[in-house]
């Protein structure tokens, strides 16, 4: 069914999605949906130990299985110089263990078989002998002198230290703290969690020996970056590598890096001469792919007795797992954590981040963290509430007193960020109105008289997204600028090719809307191509909410270039000078005579025709752009969460959640709201139930959806959304990006609400997840430590 001309939609606004047509019919193309001729299946054998010497591997029985085509061990990879590959953070990662295993679930061997069932059977036939070693599990003890050294593969390494990093002015900050009337200190843990998209990670590698072309179907969020990395690591010619990223069943930062399974699929394909598919199961996903967070933050805030914030100080121990494999810009090993100063006006701040190795899976940057901004926003919003607790001040009032004012923008923060635009008090005010905040406080007071626990929690966050300016931001030497290519066909339809890859954000719809808004071509007439490195421009991919700020900007600039060229051609067609042309959404008319005009479709046809064009103007109607963002963009929001807590069981019910977001220009409000809804559910998940903990032997306790609990529709309230719109002054269409905002801002709102409910007990803080057990224990005055196994 096609859309009639009267229904043709142009530009921004609520618009149903093009991609839905295939998803609703079950015709999506996710990586496990592909079946190539002759395709084999791979499976990974994983370590049951967190730390152990690899004594021997006997693969003979597996090799003898009638359906097994190849078995790969670390020894074989060593001959190919592929046992170790560079990580995203200038470390190395083991593809298959050679000397030791360093985390529970680490890859030890790979079988390639005729079908996935046989591959799984063959794993049982591999005999591995381990010599267990004491593991390092507690990140706070990783640098103890007697801690076992995990990375003895690094020459001269005698400890588990990775890096030290700091930002801000230490001396100035310490001076403010020394003088301050009020200092509140709180150790705050953001525990290890996992993005857990419903589709696991996977790839099909197909090495064509005749053409020398390696095609990899992979649900990666960064197809071009992968391609370049494979070229560098495997020594394969880059123009002979094609990465096809098809439909992705959720990314959330889980699908950014190159996992050992992908490399093994490539090696398997080279060895067997056939395509090899490897798709991990859920246990593998939770136990070995990129986790998120795991920041132990000693946080302090200095203020006046009247509630004016003066300074913030945070010292972080960052648990990176067994290899440093965080996807973040080279100059920022702790990502953008130094935006921890948050949304408030005060002159002094300082932070240190110390990265350590532990015997756990590698990762840390994932799950919509915006490069560690989730950690930063949580720390500041929790400590502000702790300050409110100590001052016995309403948390909304305390925030309102300290929020940056509109006149202060663009605002240079104490740690060097330049926030582009914002009206923070208006945003918080709006959230409080929607929530009927004063009524809620009255209700709470009444309930407290009766011993009923109700909590109201706030969170005001500032994000920095859209990485980023090339001169400051690169990942493994690849600058974070992205390209876009726009072609308008002779009949006036268009195709735009982009470097970012959608995992549900609706790029096929929204990017068409950007082109439509600027060119006036109906968005149904614009095709969006993404995901295949053979036919899209280079870029660093989708994560850190960068699609709209970077790629969206590239598309907008390319569209503007097309319109500029179309203007010239229209002027030539109508035989008037360029200054006499007015442009209004795809119509080029003569100033003062609106009856004389050309549509962009007519211009497109003429551009491909024999008409003589002015000097220096080439034919066709195409444009390209590589957009180097001048700055990040800074979306923000005010969130309010209302909970009811059962004091005897500790069970928490989220009654209401109000979210007012400002992401600048909203290309498609329906999609923006959907992004926010999803992130808010993440907050409930992390605040109340999600955690990957480890026991003292290093066993991962979050390796299934039975253990790693995700929120269902019953835990989520009906989200109440509001908006303010403060465009970004430096973005071509004023848009800021919104993909991670809600995940960044919501956990603090939920935790603050629960702590607010428990205020009658005199408790100020407990670490996530606030399960019934944790809430009960907190009421007893003995909160649990949540990164380790629960003990008596």
């Amino acid at each position: 069914m096609t859309v009639t001309a009267e229904q043709a939609h142009v530009g921004f606004g609520r618009r149903m999605r093009k991609e839905d047509a295939r998803f609703l019919r079950g015709k999506g193309n996710y990586v496990d949906d592909f079946a190539l001729p002759g395709m084999l299946h791979g499976a990974v054998l994983r370590s049951p130990y967190a730390h152990a010497r690899l004594v021997s591997i006997d693969t003979s029985a597996a090799e003898a299985h009638p359906k097994v085509r190849a078995v790969i061990t670390g020894a074989l990879l060593e001959t190919l110089k592929l046992a170790w590959i560079p990580s995203l953070s200038h470390d190395v990662v083991a593809v298959l263990a050679t000397d030791k295993v360093r985390f529970h679930g680490q890859e030890v061997a790979f079988v390639v078989a005729d079908d996935r069932y046989a591959a799984r059977d063959a794993l049982e036939l591999i005999d591995v002998e381990y010599e267990p070693l004491p593991p390092v599990i507690d990140a706070r003890r990783a640098l103890d002198s007697e801690a076992p050294v995990i990375r003895d593969d690094i020459e001269g390494k005698a400890d588990n230290h990775i890096f030290d990093w700091e930002a801000g002015d230490r001396d100035a900050t310490d001076a403010v703290f020394a003088r301050a009337e009020v200092v509140v200190a709180q150790d705050i843990l953001y525990p290890r969690v996992h993005p857990a998209p419903l589709e696991t990670c996977g790839a099909i590698a197909d090495m064509d020996k005749v053409t020398g072309k390696l095609t990899i179907y992979c649900n990666t969020q960064a197809p071009h970056a992968h391609r370049t990395l494979y070229a560098i690591v495997a020594g394969l010619p880059e123009h002979k590598i094609r990465i096809v990223s098809p439909d992705i069943g959720g990314g959330f930062g889980n699908k950014v890096g190159i996992y050992p399974g992908y490399v093994l699929a490539v090696v398997g394909s080279i060895l067997t001469g056939r395509p090899v598919k490897w798709v991990e199961d859920r246990a593998e996903n939770l136990m070995s792919t990129s986790f998120a967070r795991d920041y132990h933050m000693q946080t302090e805030i200095a203020a006046t007795q009247a509630g004016k914030i003066l300074a913030l100080r945070v010292n972080v121990i960052a648990d990176h797992g067994a290899f440093n494999n965080t996807a973040q810009p080279t100059k920022f090993p702790a990502g953008f954590f130094h935006i921890f100063t948050g949304s408030y006006d005060y002159p002094a701040a300082h932070c240190t981040v110390k990265g350590v190795y532990t015997n756990k899976a590698p990762g840390g940057v994932a799950y919509a963290c915006s490069f560690r901004i989730t950690e930063a926003a949580y720390a500041v919003e929790r400590i502000v509430d702790c300050l409110a607790f100590e001052l016995d001040m309403d948390p909304a009032e305390l925030r309102m007193k300290n929020l940056l004012r509109a006149e202060q923008f663009p605002y240079k923060s104490p740690t060097g960020w330049e926030y582009d635009s914002g009206d923070y008090p208006r945003c918080l005010q709006k959230a409080m109105e929607i929530a009927s905040y004063d009524e809620l406080r009255r209700e709470q007071a009444e309930k407290r008289e009766r011993g009923e626990l109700m909590g109201i929690g706030l969170s005001f966050f500032t994000e920095g997204v859209g990485a980023g300016p090339r001169k400051h931001m690169d990942i493994l030497g690849l600058g974070m600028a992205d390209g876009a290519e726009l072609r308008v066909h002779p009949t006036g339809k268009a195709v735009v090719r982009i470097s970012v890859q959608s995992q549900g954000q609706g790029h096929e719809t929204t990017f068409a809307q950007i082109v439509s808004e600027i060119t006036g071509i109906p968005s149904d007439d614009i095709d969006v191509v993404h995901g295949d490195t053979d036919n899209t421009p280079f870029g660093l991919g989708t994560y850190g909410s960068r699609s709209t700020p970077v790629s969206g900007a590239a598309v907008a600039v390319a569209a503007k270039r097309v319109v500029d060229k179309a203007k010239i051609i229209a002027a030539t067609m109508m035989e008037v000078s360029l200054e006499d042309i007015e442009v209004e959404k795809g119509t080029f008319s003569v100033k003062g005579d609106p009856t004389v005009s050309k549509t962009i479709q007519e211009v497109a046809l003429a551009a491909h025709g024999p008409m003589e064009l002015p000097e220096g103007v080439e034919g066709h109607l195409d444009a390209a752009c590589v957009y180097d963002p001048p700055n990040l963009t800074y979306p923000y929001g005010a969130y309010i969460c209302v909970v009811d807590v059962d004091p005897t069981t500790g069970a928490v019910k989220v009654r209401r959640f109000i979210a007012v977001d400002d992401c600048g220009t909203r290309i498609n409000p329906m999609i923006v709201e959907g992004q926010i809804h999803g992130g808010l559910a993440d907050g409930i998940g992390m605040a109340l139930m999600e955690v990957i903990a480890f026991d003292e032997d290093g066993n991962c306790l979050g390796g299934s959806f039975m253990d790693y609990q995700l929120p269902t529709a019953m835990e989520c309230p009906s989200w109440e959304l509001g908006e303010t719109v403060t465009p970004s002054p430096h973005h071509p269409i004023g848009a800021k990006g919104v993909g991670e905002s809600a995940t960044v801002g919501s956990p603090a709102a939920v935790v603050n609400a629960v702590m607010d409910a428990l205020k009658p007990y005199g408790v100020r803080h407990a670490d996530m997840p606030l399960t019934p057990a944790q809430v009960w224990r907190t009421i007893q005055g003995r909160p649990l430590r949540t990164d380790l196994a629960i003990t008596d």
Partner: protein, 163 residues
């Protein structure tokens, strides 16, 4: 062993290992890849199909157990080129983002509306509590199901994008 399963109204016979799970039978043997899989412990629900009219997690059923029974997958929701009201509701209300949970979610929703044509918010949320979603926060899924309940017949689809 041989199994015969009626899927979306058509009978299929296949020679399979007894251990073949229904989800793999549908995806790999019959090429109906609209049904997905997402976990190891029967929690996530992306594999939901209808067996004899009731939703079942197809990752926790053997193809052998489905032999002699009728299965409805997402590919069978559209009838004579017209989307089921559930599908239209999901499109109209933006009830899907990445689309991975959507087939299972829609089949559970279809079953709910067949049994309870006008469910409340709470009844909807309980009915889909065995179907996880990581993208939507469930809000628009609930709206989509209400939309389908309010539009039980396929009338003039207003703005359905071309396939």
């Amino acid at each position: 062993m041989q199994v015969t399963v009626k899927v979306n109204g058509e009978e299929y016979t296949g020679e399979i290992e007894p251990r073949l799970l229904l989800v793999h039978f549908l995806r790999d043997e019959l090429g109906l890849t609209g049904t997905h899989w997402g976990c190891d412990t029967s929690n996530c629900g992306v594999c939901v199909v209808q067996v004899d009219g009731t939703p079942v997690k197809s990752c926790t059923m053997l193809a052998a157990m489905a032999s002699g029974h009728e299965v409805l997958t997402v590919e069978g929701l559209e009838q004579n080129g017209e989307l089921d009201p559930i599908q239209q509701g999901f499109m109209t209300e933006h009830g899907l983002q990445c689309g991975f949970c959507t087939p299972g979610m829609m089949l559970t929703a279809r079953w709910l509306l067949d049994a309870n044509p006008n469910p409340s918010d709470a009844e909807i949320r309980e009915a889909i509590s065995g179907n996880l979603c990581r993208c939507t926060g469930y809000e628009n899924i609930v709206r989509a199901i209400h939309w389908a309940a309010d539009h039980p017949r396929v009338a003039e689809p207003e703005e359905v994008a071309a396939s």
